[in-house]
């Protein structure tokens, strides 16, 4: 499996909780998803990365992450707003986004939005289920799907 992975493709993980970051990284590693993971600790940082602003000024915007793992509850700009801005921009709107929810209510909330996101994972406390979800995610987005074609700026 791992041989087929395009290791040049990066994963953007938007997550403020460092435990969740560590557990997600471990789950990815355990599932042999060895792609580079960029971690943004809040919504502002995520948007800076995506649009080459702030801390990421001058970043090569052709280097688009192949998938974004997005937590909903974030400091400063929350997950839904991040999603909205990514979807509003021509150059980023095709990137698959997986939303990490931590309750059924959050899940319902996201479903209420017609933001056309691609998947949800309810952040499971049961690590087994989490692994399963991430594994499926890796298989699905990084292996089976061709990354969406880039639109040059």
């Amino acid at each position: 499996m791992s041989k087929e992975l395009d290791l040049n493709k990066k994963i953007l993980l938007v997550e403020d909780n460092l435990d969740d970051v560590a557990l997600t990284m471990r789950a990815l590693k355990k599932n042999k998803i060895l792609n580079e993971v960029i971690v943004a600790n809040d919504g502002v940082e995520a948007l800076d990365y995506m649009f080459g602003t702030g801390k990421y000024i001058g970043r090569d915007l052709n280097d688009v992450p192949s998938v974004i793992l997005l937590d909903l509850k974030l400091p400063r700009i929350d997950g839904l707003e991040v999603l909205r801005r990514i979807r509003a921009d021509e150059s980023t709107k095709m990137i698959p986004v997986v939303i990490l929810t931590s309750s059924k209510e959050e899940h319902d909330l996201v479903e209420g939005y017609t933001l056309g996101c691609n998947s949800y994972i309810r952040k499971p406390i049961d690590f087994d289920r989490f692994l399963e979800a991430v594994n499926q995610l890796g298989m699905y987005w990084l292996l089976i799907n061709e990354p969406p074609p880039l639109k040059k700026r």
Partner: protein, 471 residues
Amino acid sequence: MRIKTLLLINAAFFIIIILLISLVISWAGQKENDAKEEKILADAILMDVNELRALAFDYSRHHEERIVVQWTIKLDELKKLIDKADFKTSRQKEILDSIHYNIDSVESSFSDFVTNNAIQTSRDTATYQQREDLLVSLLLLKTQMIVLDAFKLSEESNVIFNMASQSNRIIVIFSLILAAITISVSILIMRSIVQPLSRLYEGARIIGSGNLDYQVDIKSYDEINRLSNAFNQMTAKLKERTSHLESAIQEMEDFAYSASHDLRTPLRGIDGFSQAFLEDYGENLDETGRDYLNRVRAASQKMSDIIDGMLSLSSITRKKMQIQEVDLSGLAATIIRKLRINQPQRNVEFVIAQGLIATGDPQMLGIVLENLLGNAWKFTSRHQSARIEFGEKLADGKTAYFVRDDGAGFDMAYADKLFKPFERQHTEVEFPGIGIGLAIVKRIINRHRGKVWAEGEVEKGAIFYFTLNYL
């Protein structure tokens, strides 16, 4: 005008009318009586005069001394009668004066007559006879005049009597009309009280049934108006207090929700890192060490279930209700199908009443039936076979739905505790669960303004009832 003043005015009016009526009646009665007496007097005078006339006539024929005595007695009687007479009108007084005058002249005429008779023996008969004829005719004439006067008097009294009874009648009729008016005014006042009162009653009912925006609209300037203003103020205050309470509850609910929600994050850490520890370094631990770590994971799993329970309990309160007709029998059938698919090996007979339609939130009522039927399914699992029934029956005149089973049952002494969150009557080894289901059921039934209660007997089974008040 104030109702009090209106009532006072009306009462005063009524009293005045009654006084007036009694005054008039007694005055007219007095008048009538007087007139009657006067008439009797006039008639007596008339009779006496007639008798005097007869005596005078008698005397002229027989010239007996006895008749003179009788005449004198009668005349005295007549004089007394006339002295006694107390007539009021000027006309009566005039007539009486004339009678007086005529009596005097009759008296003198008669005495002349008698004197003439006395001297008769000494004078010649022709002159005497001539004189006597003259005196007799004079006497008759005078008495005739008195008779006429007496007639007039009697007539006059008659007129007065008639007038008095006539005015009496008129006044009684007039008073009756006034009384009728006051009674109608009283009825109007009653109406003006009763009508707004029933509107207040109507308002109280509407507000009592939960519509705190309702305002009673009564346009008047009396006490009822003040009452309805106070009533509306009270409703406004009630609404204010209710919304205060509601927002306080909302705050608590929000807190419980976000606290439960946020507890998930550290719990995820505890569970996740225990597992990572176990997987990555488990070989360096002995059996006891690994057992401890497994217990950490089991405990966090349990905590996760409890948090899920709290979240679903709080979501019941936060959820907006959508009231519509709900096919309870259909819902029950679907739930039973799922139960059977999960544990096909179980031998359970289901008896479901058909066509049970209720009014409520379909999703919430589904949760109620899921919990009650799920419990019945679970608490019969230690018996070889089981029978579970869903139906309706009347309890206190209301339709109560029930789920009955013949499973483990419970001790009635703890019947109320069952509905409290995380209260259980059975151990987790016997029957797994965290004890949130019935608490959720109770909340849902409360939101439907209904009641839920249970009956049970250990090892005989249990029966759970609920009513719904969204009708």
